[in-house]
Symmetry: C2
Subunit: 430 residues, 2 copies
């Protein structure tokens, strides 16, 4: 039952991902047609620099006028891989207005203003798919939106940024400092010239917002996500982590509160036990744990970025959207019926690992312990080492609200006997 009139696809952006999408659409045209039930063809490719030679993309399809391309009216699906907020948002909403469905890899836009995109898709009865926006080729959006649609997700915990995982992995295995590891990541192409979006965790925070919104059926925006980058992580932190049988990962953590009345989303470096499956996620790989009431603990692992893996996710969505188009149906839209509020970081329950430089004299431990107790924070372990009149205390707490933990640290900083707080890191993954 193959339809012969092709479905028309407009491609916005022809960089690392876009050129792979175009290449696979050409080289695997027969497979795509068989799986969709109709051939798909490139109707146009919008780029900024039309002079650049793009292998496999016919010159006559290239345009700089993206607005005109998405407004043609004969385009069935717009694939948006340009990224950023504008002009992507306007192009996507314009595409919907002109009858196209949209496949996007744009995590920043979805996290910033997904609601506008969903609303436009819904108004015009079109699809908005974005598997490629989170964790590259790893199926994660579809499992959360569809496979777990009959379950109750309580937690999503994962490594969703390959650049920072590469850097932290290098620091862990080679003992390198942050700058040295970043240089290596840059040299190998894992980090961009300006690594801010990755190392300051804006990228991971956008992904956390998307995952939390889908997992908990509520609206979570980038601003709702607590964000701490990993530029302050030191070789000394890794040494401390090793002594605890841990390593350090930049984690995105989305949780339903114990009472079920709110959710939290956060991204920060954290120590996790070496026995945790996320501890062995190496190099630029991504992995995400999903804990659901009936399903239990699931893990999804794979390459989280790169042209071909991201194109795989885009093309999977393209096939789905094209099938929907032929069936005159749409896939799942925005699901925010729970309207659960996002609580601030202070209400997150977690554990701290704190290294203190203290005066090497009797009674210091008792004073420090008193400060923890006054803030309602229970201590799990304390390790005390001293040499040359200096001493250090390493305290690992039990679980407590983040506000109580950070209040404790503030109070410790004011103590005469505490010369400095050498490092603070959350402990996760138990």
């Amino acid at each position: 039952m193959m339809r012969t009139r092709p479905l028309k696809v407009a491609l916005l952006g022809c960089g690392v991902v876009g050129s792979e999408v175009a290449r696979i659409m050409t080289t695997h045209a027969g497979d795509l047609a068989a799986r969709i039930g109709a051939p798909v063809e490139l109707a146009g490719v919008a780029v900024r620099r039309p002079s650049k030679v793009r292998e496999g993309v016919p010159r006559e399809l290239v345009t700089t006028d993206a607005k005109a391309l998405v407004s043609r009216g004969d385009v069935d699906v717009v694939v948006e891989v340009i990224g950023g907020i504008e002009p992507a948002r306007t192009l996507i909403t314009t595409a919907f207005e002109h009858g196209a469905s949209v496949v996007s890899a744009n995590k920043a836009l979805l996290a910033e203003d997904g609601a506008t995109l969903y609303a436009a898709a819904g108004k015009h009865g079109r699809d908005l798919y974005f598997e490629a926006a989170v964790a590259g080729a790893i199926p994660l959006i579809r499992p959360l939106r569809e496979s777990l649609a009959g379950d109750k997700v309580n937690r999503v915990l994962g490594i969703v940024n390959g650049t920072t995982n590469f850097i932290l992995d290098k620091m862990d295995t080679s003992g390198a400092g942050y700058s040295e590891a970043l240089d290596e990541a840059t040299a190998l192409g894992y980090a961009e010239a300006d690594p801010t979006a990755d190392v300051e965790a804006f990228d991971a925070a956008a992904k956390a917002a998307i995952l939390a919104g889908i997992a908990f059926h509520t609206r979570v925006r980038l601003d709702d996500v607590y964000r701490e980058g990993m530029t302050e992580v030191t070789a000394a932190d890794f040494a401390s982590a090793k002594q605890m049988g841990c390593t350090i990962k930049l984690l995105a953590i989305c949780e339903r509160a114990a009472d079920g009345r709110s959710v939290t989303a956060r991204v920060h470096p954290a120590m996790i036990p070496l026995s945790h499956p996320l501890a062995s996620v190496r190099e630029a790989y991504n992995a995400v744990f999903v804990e659901a009431e009936a399903a239990g603990r699931l893990m999804f692992y794979g390459p989280g970025a790169g042209g071909a893996p991201t194109a795989s996710a885009v093309l999977g969505d393209l096939v789905a959207v094209c099938r929907n188009k032929l069936a005159e149906a749409t896939g799942p839209g925005e699901s925010v019926y729970t309207r659960l509020p996002v609580s601030p970081m202070g209400e997150v329950v977690t554990r701290y690992h704190i290294s203190l430089d203290v005066a090497d004299k009797p009674g210091v431990l008792a004073q420090v312990a008193t400060v923890f107790a006054e803030h309602g924070v229970s201590i799990d372990t304390v390790r005390q080492t001293g040499k040359d009149g200096e001493a250090s205390l390493v305290v690992v707490t039990h679980r407590a609200p983040d506000a109580a933990l950070s209040g404790t640290v503030e109070a410790l900083r004011t103590m005469d006997t505490v010369r400095g707080v050498a490092s603070i890191m959350r402990v996760e993954g138990e």
Copy 2:
């Protein structure tokens, strides 16, 4: 836009999985309705023993007449969790004839005669979903059918039977023999009273058939899958595996041939390196690697069986099928357009680990090496140990067709200087 007339669900079977499905349908009715866009209600539950008390299932819904239930005509979705070939097949095809879509967890039936089910679904324009048939709660069917629909899958490699993984894990960690580990698995409820389907790998073979068919878009039946159980695996095999830096897992392996013109599917115990992520899959967990051209290597991990995890997969399908019903659309049907043939085991390219008891005299190694060479099998490593006039040779080969490897073993058996073939095991996962 909530529809108020409920969608009606008929449940066939109310055992470990069915009762969880019924329970979650009741306790999470509001969530399911919000996600589907209409409430769902149980229209009937077909069981064999109606007298058994089933918590949460109203007595008046229970019937022993499954045929009448699926023929009612007002049922939107039939959930089949009774298993086995008949009466399940007739009930499912009857359900399609009467306008229902079907969600099934029946791996045996899908592997034996999936084509009949797909044909009936297609003829009546209804959905056939079966995420729960393979690897319990782990999303695997949907990622393969949908997320990777734009990619080319070359290999699926996984642990898809929890019972045998539990037994092998016990043998590995405790040094126990097969019988002892089986007894423990039985006592803990991981193995059934008659463990044949698990330990002889019929269950894993059915799953391999389903995965291979979907991954390669061709028809693969249970009979096409090479199958070797794990009852012959010994403590000595584990000791050999350890010496190689390996462990032993029962693996399901589906591969596209190097020339792309055929596929293979097989289930057998194999040594895999401890560094391979599948090596650290413990107890009754399942994990599946998928290697695709663009996506690279993906891994899916989670609980592979049990009432609640399997119910999670069933309910995810139920939500999808109900959404399709409301949209008057259907999801993906059977995709067998590649019509790739399934090659016999002899053509699979793999490696062997062979332990031989040999006469402890000069020249034996040369004779043995000659036999390998005559069969075109290249040797990777040989380890020779001798004591008290007895000697053993452990040979690990390079990759060669299975027929050449088994031919080599047959020839070795006829040699005077070879007193016995102590063990043969394939080596995978590199």
